[in-house]
Amino acid sequence: MVRTLAMFTDTSLCIGCRACQVACKQWNELGLEVPEWTGGYQNHAHFTDKTYRLVRFIEEPGGKPNGDLAWLLMSDVCKHCAEAGCLDACPTGAIYRTEYGTVNINQDVCNGCRYCVSSCPFGVVSFNESTGTAKKCTFCNDRIHNGLGPACAKACPTESIQFGFRDELVGKAAKRVEKLKAMGFKDAQLYGADAKGFLGGLNAFFLLLAKPSTYDLPDNPRLPQRNVMVDSLLSIGSALVVGLGVLLSFRERGKGGPHA
């Protein structure tokens, strides 16, 4: 694997313009989607098979350092987790990791079982009815393999979305968070930057100005398949109990008659 590529989304620089959302849609030719009422500017409500980049708009009274209303703006995207739930869940091997560390869905292999959809801790992966396959952000795989940055990062007017080598971006992000804290943003924090943290670190990591749940992000996302062992053992245990019961009953009855 070559040096890991990453996307650093600094929400303190986001102006919610949604250039990223449209640039993504344009480049990836994702098609029209009827919006739903979300109560504010945000559309759409969730990631979908036609929305890989999604700008979230959150009103937070008292959220500014001076106590004013904060309007938290955040461009959300697939996290390309180092330990990816979707990749673990995929029964066909369609979901794979590239040499850059990104996680992609091979559209020619995916058979649309949708286990990855519910296995993503962030609700990123979406099912496309017309292709019958799962879809999500690829970091513009075609572009990054040709030396171009992803369409969203390129369009972003304020460099809220930065694209580059992960190690470099993490260093930059750490400095930025210190600066913001000094400026009075007491809840400024990095989300997913730590490779020792949850999911082995996110290749799309974020600088947030409030706790993750404010942004509809899980505070401590876990790999769903982590429970497989325990659950399987439980299943086997209960099977044994039931099996033993059944077995005993048939034994009892077997004693009563000739063995066939």
Binding site: V109, Y115, S232, G245
Partner: protein
């Protein structure tokens, strides 16, 4: 936030029928190996029932895929930690067992019967897996237990299956008539009414209808259903024996 996979009715049926298929095969194999001569019919019926059921299961599973023609892609990889991957394999492998066991159950040859009993013992493992892995599958997603629309539907299905179970039991008791007396008023009455109907069905149903969002209560409901399931099997089995 995590979102549901939009598994709809086909998958509910798959889970349900898979469970029955697995259970039927399991019962058949146990009866075959450990039961008496009068259990022979049970064994054969179980094997013969499990074959079409698992076939339907397979068809349901394939039909529900986004690209059904790519079902075989699941056979190109095996991930032991992945219930979906295992599940796909199990359907196939268990299908094979039900086929062989069914075929052999039609034969009266003792050597076939011996082979069938041995195969049955191995097949139990896969049948059981089919019946139970779905739970693992469902619990091993990023979805919180009560969130999401499609997830809600699965939970609804869960609720309805409890109701259906109640109705089936009522029908069973009615059909059994006097034969059901040990169950409803005899030695097992307390267990039946209190354990199965009350704890195992009505209480979880009530918890569910209350729409509780508390994880702990959800888990309690699930546990109660499990207990109920066990009690059901127990009381049915034991009362019949009595």
């Amino acid at each position: 936030m995590p979102k549901p996979p939009h598994w709809e009715l086909m998958i509910v049926w798959y889970f349900f029928l898979g469970g029955i298929a697995g259970g039927a095969y399991f019962t058949a194999a146990i009866a075959d190996n450990f039961g008496g001569a009068r259990d022979r019919g049970v064994a054969r019926a179980g094997y013969l029932l499990s074959l079409p059921l698992v076939a339907v299961c397979g068809l349901l599973l394939i039909a529900d895929l986004g690209v059904p023609t790519r079902f075989l892609n699941m056979m190109r990889t095996l991930k032991v930690w992945d219930p979906m991957s295992i599940g796909a394999w199990i359907v196939g492998v268990f299908g094979l067992f039900t086929f062989v066991s069914s075929a052999l159950s039609l034969s009266s040859s003792p050597s076939h019967a011996a082979l069938r009993r041995k195969i049955g013992l191995v097949g139990i493992f896969f049948g059981f897996f089919l019946a139970s892995y779905t739970g693992v599958l469902l619990s091993n997603s990023a979805m919180p237990f009560s969130a999401g629309e499609g997830w809600g539907k699965l939970k609804h299905a869960d609720r309805y299956s409890m109701l259906v179970e109640l109705l089936l039991l009522a029908a069973l008791i009615a059909a059994l008539g006097a034969a059901a007396r040990p169950l409803v008023s005899g030695h097992f009455a307390t267990l039946f009414w209190g354990g199965l109907i009350g704890l195992g069905l009505l209480l979880p149903l009530a918890l569910d209808l209350l729409g509780t969002r508390a994880r702990a209560l959800g888990a309690l409901a699930a546990a109660l259903v499990l207990i109920g399931g066990f009690v059901l099997r127990y009381v049915v089995l034991m009362s019949v024996q009595a």
